[in-house]
Symmetry: C3
Subunit: 363 residues, 3 copies
Amino acid sequence: MAHSIAEIAKALNAEAFGATDIIVDGASEPASAGPRDLALAMSPAYGEKLAEGQARAAVVWPGADWEALGLEAAIIAPRARLAMARLTQMLDTPWDIEDGIHATAITDGAQIGEGVAIGPYSIVGKGAKIGAGSRIAAHVVIAPGAVIGEGSVILDGAKIMRRVSIGARAVIHPNAVIGSDGFSWVSADVSNVERARATMGEAEANIPDDPSWHRIHSLGGVEIGDDCEIGVGSTIDAGTIRATKIGNGCKIDNGCHLGHNVTMGDHCLMAGHAAVAGSTVIGDRVVLGGQTGVGDNLKIGDDVVTSAGTIVLANVPSGRVMMGYPATTMTQQVDMYKALRRLPRFLRDKVGSSKSGFNSKPE
Amino acid sequence: MAHSIAEIAKALNAEAFGATDIIVDGASEPASAGPRDLALAMSPAYGEKLAEGQARAAVVWPGADWEALGLEAAIIAPRARLAMARLTQMLDTPWDIEDGIHATAITDGAQIGEGVAIGPYSIVGKGAKIGAGSRIAAHVVIAPGAVIGEGSVILDGAKIMRRVSIGARAVIHPNAVIGSDGFSWVSADVSNVERARATMGEAEANIPDDPSWHRIHSLGGVEIGDDCEIGVGSTIDAGTIRATKIGNGCKIDNGCHLGHNVTMGDHCLMAGHAAVAGSTVIGDRVVLGGQTGVGDNLKIGDDVVTSAGTIVLANVPSGRVMMGYPATTMTQQVDMYKALRRLPRFLRDKVGSSKSGFNSKPE
Amino acid sequence: MAHSIAEIAKALNAEAFGATDIIVDGASEPASAGPRDLALAMSPAYGEKLAEGQARAAVVWPGADWEALGLEAAIIAPRARLAMARLTQMLDTPWDIEDGIHATAITDGAQIGEGVAIGPYSIVGKGAKIGAGSRIAAHVVIAPGAVIGEGSVILDGAKIMRRVSIGARAVIHPNAVIGSDGFSWVSADVSNVERARATMGEAEANIPDDPSWHRIHSLGGVEIGDDCEIGVGSTIDAGTIRATKIGNGCKIDNGCHLGHNVTMGDHCLMAGHAAVAGSTVIGDRVVLGGQTGVGDNLKIGDDVVTSAGTIVLANVPSGRVMMGYPATTMTQQVDMYKALRRLPRFLRDKVGSSKSGFNSKPE
């Protein structure tokens, strides 16, 4: 991965200064950089640390006096994180998946495209199609009939269940499971959940004659567009009679969940542990913060952003920034929160001390 | 999976009308239905879409004028979702698990019942018992001595650890882990967690002489009743000196967690990412919404329902519908929430603008 | 596992009374104890149940009249849970991992220490080092170049990715994934997330010309100290240009997540489903309650404790006990919560009934 400063600057669409023929083969924080590392000093705070390390060259912020920082060469990047994307891509090495189909892989009856790699103990079912150039690591299961697009990477232990179609250039991280059964149950009579929803919790609970739950099977599978990533251990359940759908360019972090029949648009992000319940429709370019929960059967517009931990229990129009439980706009949440912080003193001044306890035991 | 409309109606306990000898082999939403699909148009909104598709027959709502909707045959289902359960069961195909024990499966010393299927690379330990007719997919691990009841399905990558007993007709979804170690740690001296709990956060933190955590081992295993499902990647930890217990007919979604020593009654539902901490007792027919958290050592009565995202930190009597953090009844939560929404304007009117910031930095 | 009462008392650093030569081979709750079980009756409530079982010996609370409880022998333990740790360790059996390297394990080019056990279908990559005495169960993947310290246990289906180093005496539970890619994405232009953060949600959403997300690769790997446990299905993402770091003696429960570049000190605990976002620094002896979320780029001091479900969105000084969303000190949260419970009646008395609805639809 050795590159000259000039080469890197060109790849980053950035300007290079000084001894641009210096060769580096890694990136490092300024303080720990060795002489063959490109230091990343994209703000003055990091610039100060250059003296603690041995970097000869660094990526610095616009306007930095790189010579005064003791550097022999510098790259100036106007948008630091974008430069990071290109730079880390250049310096990375490919996934550890050996070429060819490992002797222990089971692929009878599958359609394996040109140049596909399949690792040890992986299984590709009858009639499954693996697009050209895709790389499948170890212990992967791809069910009969599933389709993987060209140039995709399926990492160790991922399971692609039946009735699933994934587009080109996907990255499916370890232990992700796509096309699992939807969680959809119905009782013979109207259940307490249905009653609670219909009455906002006012209905008396009922002890049913027949408490058993009947499974609604998932016949609809999952369709995922191109250029998507699904994080470690994330799950995308199959739809009931039509596919659960994810558009193009969506990136889903570890431990996320999309319920049955969910439709997600293009270029969405879901951070760690976020979850969307069944049949909800998510627009384009939506960003769900970590641990966000979105209820079932809702409509979330385009370009919505949620803060970490937001619990969305109602439809959200396009373009809103949401926060809280239940979610409101961030602006309204901040307003309510500021008021709540003032409330204890206000009530003490107005009414005197409280007798209500903390435990949320219903009265 | 081809069935006549008459056959389907009979299976659904529903009435059929018109050309009930029409054969269908799939179900579809009205707009996308082909001529061999049974359209599902269980409300007028869906009925309107029938004209966009090619369905000759549909399941319609009670009172629908099916002939006016352009159908040749119709099934009228009084409880739509219950009909969905039966219908999707009829139209589904069995799991992709081949008959017999795959050559790569390791089953030495296990007791394998009649008609059991075991997929590639699965391992069944010494002394483990697999009930007749059970089907085990690929990459499954069943530890020595574990017991699986008759007619169960264990899907790819699931791990059934030692000291676990699962009843009949279970479905264990991919990568679920049952019987993992409880998370139970103790320090030599009273820890800051114990002090925080005892004083509701009033105690000063203490830097312990010996900060190391000693593991309380999990000797008690897990016992699961009949007709349970455990979702993808869900975990059920072993009890300490007695089993963690789940009753009959419980259905647990993806990414859920039951801690050590939990006791759960019959016919409970847990939606995605819900979690119950150690030693809590959950009654019968309890429904925990998605991302619900229930604290440790609590008692949750029968027929309790929680909203998505509820954090339960105290005991809950039977029949309550709970919401919020900390959880209260939904009624009380709505009352508090409505008041909180009015609070900012009220305080501005009464006291003037606030100076308190949003960031939750302790003062 | 047979031990005399005298032996057990010695191991627990506790005093024994009566017929201390009685042999037991298990532990049990008092009511279900057989004659060869040591009953655990560490409080009077449990003491009462001894009569329902057949225990001849029990661990009892300080001051208990063990003879009056019908026992022939007793152990008195001053700190009950610490005694449980030692006792359950004595009574436990080793993990079910057979000695030696299974014929189906793939270990070409790996450095395997003395006495290492490796189970069926596990894979250890080229140049990976496994410390002496470590035990690796089935279906484990250890990537090329990864390092596992001495005396560690890696359980079924765990994946140790490239650029990962784990210290001595680790326990990695089933399906945990360490060293997965960080979730780090950047758009060509300033995104709506960046704008929402910079303006606390006040900025108008913008439809970008180029909505695609560029991946920042994870070159930095993961370094984990000695004596750590990582729970079932938990994920620890690799750092960007330096390692994600976990100190010594940390215990992480099931379904947890540590983002890229996180630094965690020594002797921390994370309970089930807790998550820490990228680049956050966690001090020593921090305890995160179940489902706690900690935002990115924060500093959490030493000895911080969070309640279950806490969402931390700002820095936290050492020693705080935190709760709520957004997190405050528990003391402040209780104060606000008590006031909120009084608010609906207060407003009704002062202003009259509300017209604002419950649904959090932005206005």
